[in-house]
């Protein structure tokens, strides 16, 4: 399935989950995701990540609602616990495969969703610079420590220096892009043209339809 279509379906379901108060629906999402993951053959580290990550925020909400809730709060506590898992397991269907599908996802955004090339390439740049940004934040803090300053999270200098780096990098990248032939607002031709198959639309429609049917019985 085209990654942008997949993304759209996942976002729609996630938005609906925010307003649906049903443990069953959340569990169905988790089980269906788990079935898809077994087909995708995840590494055991990824399974562990999926299992452990939601525990803390999930239990956090669960305890709070149990202690300080009003009305139907026990039900709500279970909803929140299952909802956190549903969000992450649903989102993992998109994010865990993104490394393989990144190029086609961005190409679809540009060619089929007609997002301005400026934004698409900003996204490309940012995705590829993420490791460098991580390193730069560490460098800023270490450099300050060498002068005997500790840049805490509440120190404006930390952000100021990060913004300086952002300014320099964005300028360099903009110049680099222009010198490689990028023209703002120009119509672009594409070596690889992305097409969304009719099959993808049908699958997306079926998934969304089935999800809506799931809501009718009004499960716990």
């Amino acid at each position: 399935m085209n990654p942008l279509m997949k993304f759209g379906v996942i976002m729609l379901i996630a938005l609906e989950l925010t307003f649906i108060k049903s443990v069953t629906v959340n569990l169905v999402i988790i089980i269906v995701s788990a079935l898809i993951y077994t087909v995708l053959k995840l590494r055991w580290q990824q399974w562990l990540w999926l299992l452990l990550l939601p525990i803390l925020p999930g239990l956090g909400s669960w305890f709070s609602l149990m202690y300080f809730g009003t009305g139907d709060h026990v039900h709500m506590a279970w909803i929140m616990l299952s909802r956190v898992f549903a969000y992450l397991w649903l989102g993992g269907l998109f994010t865990l495969k993104l490394n393989d599908e990144r190029d086609i996802f961005l190409a679809t955004l540009e060619q089929r969703a007609h997002l301005s090339a400026t934004f698409v390439y900003a996204l490309v740049g940012v995705l590829n610079f993420m490791p460098a940004v991580n390193q730069q934040v560490k460098t800023i803090r270490v450099a300050a420590q060498m002068r005997g300053q500790t840049l805490h999270i509440w120190a404006p200098q930390l952000y100021f220096k990060a913004i300086l780096a952002a300014i320099r990098w964005s300028q360099n990248l903009a110049e680099g892009m222009v010198s490689h032939g990028f023209t703002e607002g120009a119509t672009r031709t594409h070596l690889a043209v992305v097409k969304i198959k009719l099959r993808d639309w049908v699958i997306a429609a079926i998934i969304l339809l089935m999800f809506q049917l799931l809501l009718f019985p009004g499960w716990y």
């Binding site: 925020p57 709070s64 202690y67 809730g69 139907d72 994010t95 404006p156 952000y159 300086l164 952002a166």
Partner: protein, 193 residues
């Protein structure tokens, strides 16, 4: 020296978009470093049922990308876009909320930008910044009523959470952003033309 385009049209210059994206990613990473602190805090508060306070105490930090993008680019939509970029980073780094991170990012961006919009996008200094902290608190709190199940809490806890969230946004999204803006203006790195 970076020149930021001063056009009032709905045209996004390449260098503005790139600057906005990079600032958002930097903020995303700075607060990623803080992730363990949040986890420890949340874990410590969980048995007492007070874990939402960990979230509300730090939310200002996660939302800093929006006001920073607004004051740097000074254009309608900058706050929303900045926060969207930042939340995308958080999601890709493996945030605990999965895809819901993007939805929250959108809500937070709109919430923060509403403050600047309320002043007709004319004040990019402390008035605009503090207005964005206020609207950011209100709008994200409404979102939390649904997403985080806040609607089922006692009124007392809700008031305490609201105040906590406002303090967080007032500091990170207000006081800190004003201080950063002062540093930027004194250094003269941004030239508006």
């Amino acid at each position: 020296m970076q020149t930021v385009s001063e056009s009032k049209q709905h045209h996004w210059a390449l260098r503005d978009v790139l600057l906005l994206a990079f600032v958002a990613v930097f903020i995303g990473f700075i607060f990623w470093v803080l992730g363990p602190v949040y986890n420890i805090l949340a874990a410590a508060l969980t048995p007492m049922g007070l874990a939402p306070f960990a979230n509300d105490l730090l939310i200002g930090g996660w939302m800093m990308a929006a006001p920073l993008a607004s004051i740097l680019i000074r254009q309608a939509g900058a706050g929303v876009l900045g926060e969207l970029f930042a939340s995308a980073v958080e999601m890709l780094l493996g945030g605990q909320w999965g895809v819901a991170t993007l939805l929250s990012g959108l809500v937070q961006g709109v919430g923060s930008e509403a403050g600047f919009a309320a002043l007709a996008y004319k004040d990019w200094h402390w008035r605009g910044i503090f207005a964005s902290a206020i609207t950011g608190t209100i709008i994200t709190f409404i979102w939390s009523l649904f997403r985080d199940g806040y609607a089922s809490y006692h009124v007392g806890l809700l008031v305490a959470l609201f105040i906590t969230r406002f303090i967080s946004l007032f500091f990170f999204g207000g006081v800190l952003v004003v201080a950063i803006q002062k540093l930027i203006e004194k250094s003269g790195v941004l030239h508006r033309g």
